[in-house]
């Protein structure tokens, strides 16, 4: 699939797992960008156009929710699906992420099926 994906997570291991699971689920974009926190992600988004963002919430320097708000404020990813991938999954947290601009929410641990059900439809739409 043509396009660029941005994976934001402070764990390099988790970024690899997310990318591997996306690939297994048939969601493979030809360019991959990785960021270890919200600040790095913002820098990458200011210089690149992406088609999908997979983002953790609990990160140093700038959390996933703060990143979503900055993306919205700076209009850095208009219409781009942003999916939160996080251990935190309570209803208020999901609501907060959706209000800040997330289109999907996947709780860790996750399976290929979770990615298929929550990410694939966003790319087709």
């Amino acid at each position: 699939m043509k396009g660029t994906i941005l994976v934001v997570d402070d764990s390099a291991m988790m970024r690899k797992i997310v990318l591997r699971t996306l690939k297994t689920a048939g969601v493979e974009l030809d360019t991959v960008l990785e960021a270890g926190d919200g600040v790095e992600a913002l820098t990458l988004l200011r210089a690149n156009t992406v088609q999908l963002i997979m983002c953790d919430i609990n990160m140093p320097n700038m959390s996933g929710i703060e990143l979503l708000l900055k993306i919205k404020e700076e209009k850095l990813a208009v219409g781009v699906p942003i999916v939160m991938v996080t251990t935190e999954g309570s209803e208020p947290q999901v609501r907060q992420a959706i209000l800040a601009g997330a289109r999907g929410y996947i709780r860790k641990p996750f399976t290929v099926e979770h990615i298929e059900n929550n990410v694939k439809p966003l790319l087709v739409a």
Binding site: M13, T87, G89, R107, P109
Partner: protein, 172 residues
Amino acid sequence: MSESMFAVKSYGAQEFLSAENGVRADEAVAEVFSMMLGYEILPVDEAAANGCEANERTAIVGFSGSMRGTCEIRMTTLAACSVASAMLGGTPVAEGDDSIDDAIGELCNMLAGGWKNRIHTLSSDCALSPPTVISGGDYKVHVRQPSMKLARVYRFDVHTLHLTLHRQDLAT
């Protein structure tokens, strides 16, 4: 700021020590190992498990909010290599690889989250700290008193995983 903003319902000692909590821990461990590592993992008798070993790794994640405490996992470096390798889809991982600490830190994070998300009062009112990883076995984790713990031991493949949940009294 209003006073009500600080009114967090504490997760009680009785609830923490209930039998259900052991079951929740077992479920969280089984779920994470099955979904992220492809391993079957089973609880074993603590007395039958190996004791502390010199060459080991420990990951700790803190709880704050309606419960203050920690989630601690401990395993040998060899077991941690297996965890990292399984997380990478079977790619071999050598003992000195940086990804080992990252892997068991993430594992601890998912186990802590998986356990607390099974408890309604903790799911939304208890936050997790970033994981800390310790290499080596010659250390002691000090938790401020009064505290209580729930310890479980599991077996996966040929390895042992020690899980300890500490709950600290909010009033201290």
